[in-house]
């Protein structure tokens, strides 16, 4: 597939230009470009990966290797809110397991699953580097610190108010 799949917004296009001039090789642009594309599309499927590979003149296989090695890239469309419960030791020492159990029960999904309305997705992740304020739950790119069941509940309520995905 040709790079035309990558229909970028104007800002994204500008960002792309600045990425391209920051590195001595095109392949080195791969991670920043994948982040950019991930922000634009919400996930990176094979055709998108192929287009990125075309853009950076690298083999498709390299793009797939990179996509599957790192954990931050989704390969399929994600829920509107991806809830990432830190399972690192410091968070675990301060009640992470209870939070996770609560979330599973509350959302009626297991780890790695998405609610049927596409609003929430539940994941566990390794230490998020925020153990000073454990337990940590990260939702999309936002860190929620010192979490308790009550605090999580009010955050979920807040987030449920917004428009559903695609609406």
């Amino acid at each position: 597939m040709s790079p035309e799949v990558l229909a970028f917004s104007e800002e994204a296009q500008a960002e792309l230009e600045s990425i391209l001039q920051a590195y001595p090789t095109k392949q080195a642009c791969l991670l920043p470009v994948l982040h950019l594309v991930h922000r634009e599309f919400g996930y990176i499927s094979d055709p998108i990966a192929e287009a990125v590979a075309g853009l950076l003149e690298i083999p498709f296989a390299v793009a797939v290797e990179v996509l599957t090695f790192y954990t931050l890239f989704a390969r399929r469309p994600q829920a509107k809110y991806v809830i990432q419960v830190c399972r690192g030791l410091s968070c675990a020492l301060l009640g992470q397991e209870e939070l996770l159990a609560y979330l599973k029960n509350r959302l009626k999904i297991k780890e790695g699953e998405m609610t049927p309305d596409g609003l929430f997705e539940l994941k566990t992740v390794e230490c998020l580097g925020g153990c000073g304020e454990s337990p940590i739950v990260r939702i999309n790119e936002t860190y929620y610190e010192l979490q308790t069941i009550d605090r999580l509940e009010s955050t979920l309520k807040e987030l449920s108010k917004g428009p559903k995905k695609g609406a």
Binding site: P59, F60, A61, V62, V64, E65, T68, F69
Partner: protein, 537 residues
Amino acid sequence: MASVVINGERYDVADGERLIDVCDRVGVYIPRFCYHPNLSVAGNCRMCLVEIEGMPKLQISCNTNVRDGMSVLTDSQKVKEARADVLEFIFINHPLDCPICDQAGECKLQDYYMEVGLYKSRMPQEFKVKKPRKAIRWGSGIVFDAERCVLCTRCVRFMEEVVGKRAIGVTNRGDHEEIALLEPLSTLYAGNLADICPVGALTSEDFRFKMRVWFLSRTDTICPGCSRGCNITAWHKDKKIYRFTPRQNDSVNHAWMCDIGRYSYKEENSSSLILKGWVREGSGTKEMATPELLGVLAQELKGLKGKAKESSVAALVAPDRTNEEIFTVCAFMAEIFGSSRVVLDVPAPKGPKDDLLLTGEMASNPAGLSLFAFRSAKPYTIDAFKQDLKEGKLEAVMLFGDAWEGLEAAWPGMQEAFKALPTLAIFASKRKASFPQARFVIPSASMIQKDGTWVNVTGHVQRVRKAYRLNRDILADGESLGLLAEFMGESFQVGKLEDITKRFLEAIGGLSGASLADVGLEGVSLPSEEQPKHLEA
């Protein structure tokens, strides 16, 4: 120069040489999965650990360059323990079914664990990371079995570094890491993947489950596919070849061969070969034992002896015959018919050409043929032959070899042109080579049935070796010609192979004095000024 001590023995080696290569050369074997001398160093399997004096940690010998004064232990207790541990790690996620694995007998994992005595894996089966159990067809004749893979990345590196195509990749990480085909292999070199995979993860669809390797005999010889002349081993049993695999020769093919050559073994088996000769009689053909057949041919050829340039007997030699056959045919023509009408500029069939191995000349010895042709100041060319044929100057023509497609391509109407000829005899190995116009078809020994030498595209002289003879009707061309002369009431002494090789090499110059023994397993190169001239074009 560096002086290193390996297990107490002192060796003089080149400074900076890779330790594992040095050990290989001096006969100290170090187990390995990921290292391959013709690929970059990955250093990931950790099997090749050795103890180096002055270094607290064991070092991998595949990423260690020797330094003067280095002292190495490859069999200390520490090394042995490390090896056994590493092996066990590799083994825990590997199936325990060697008896049904196709790689059994040539699997490094199997070899090593037998050595270490690790028969039972400690990891209960239910713990194993789930990997697809079924073998997947990757195309290009390669089958992938993920659960047997030890993630050495040889296949990835082979595709990237040798073929130049990043078709195979490593996806995911940790113990979920997997080898994956991410783009079609579509290469003429895929077969090598099965050779380099140290375990049974990549196998050849062609060879899979056909035969246990330990039942096969091996003959080291040369691939007949193209003029590269890749060094190969022919694996055979009961006069049948089961496969060709490449043999390491860094001056020719490194460790590789192409799939055309690899699968050409099928054309060297009996179903593709002429097993009994025949003579055309009226509208039909009559099969005959070879001596009988040569007797009939002798009757027709008797009395055709003439003066060199005026002889009415001509011969053509195809670019797949051995140097010794070329020499013998020329000698026979001169001695028996006094003829110098031997065409040696028969072009090789055209085929794929690339930067790796394939030369585009799909015959084994065009270089030998042309080198021998150049020895004479005024060679008898194909054009002169055509002219003579047209003018009806020829009464008998003998064809030697199988690779005529190149000639036919360059000479439309060739078959037609032979029609008027009173006597046309072909000495060929393969059914596909038989000329419909030929009156006589005499079975000639194919590459696996004879000894001799070929000259490859870069001027490297190499040996083909006989493994067996299929039947008594198949003769080497020299033997046939000796019989033919006898039936004609003449005498033609073929001589020993060694002598012919010597005389051939003397004739082409550059390697005078060299013998068959010098050619050996690795071959010998002609000096650059003597290299085949037909390649310059």
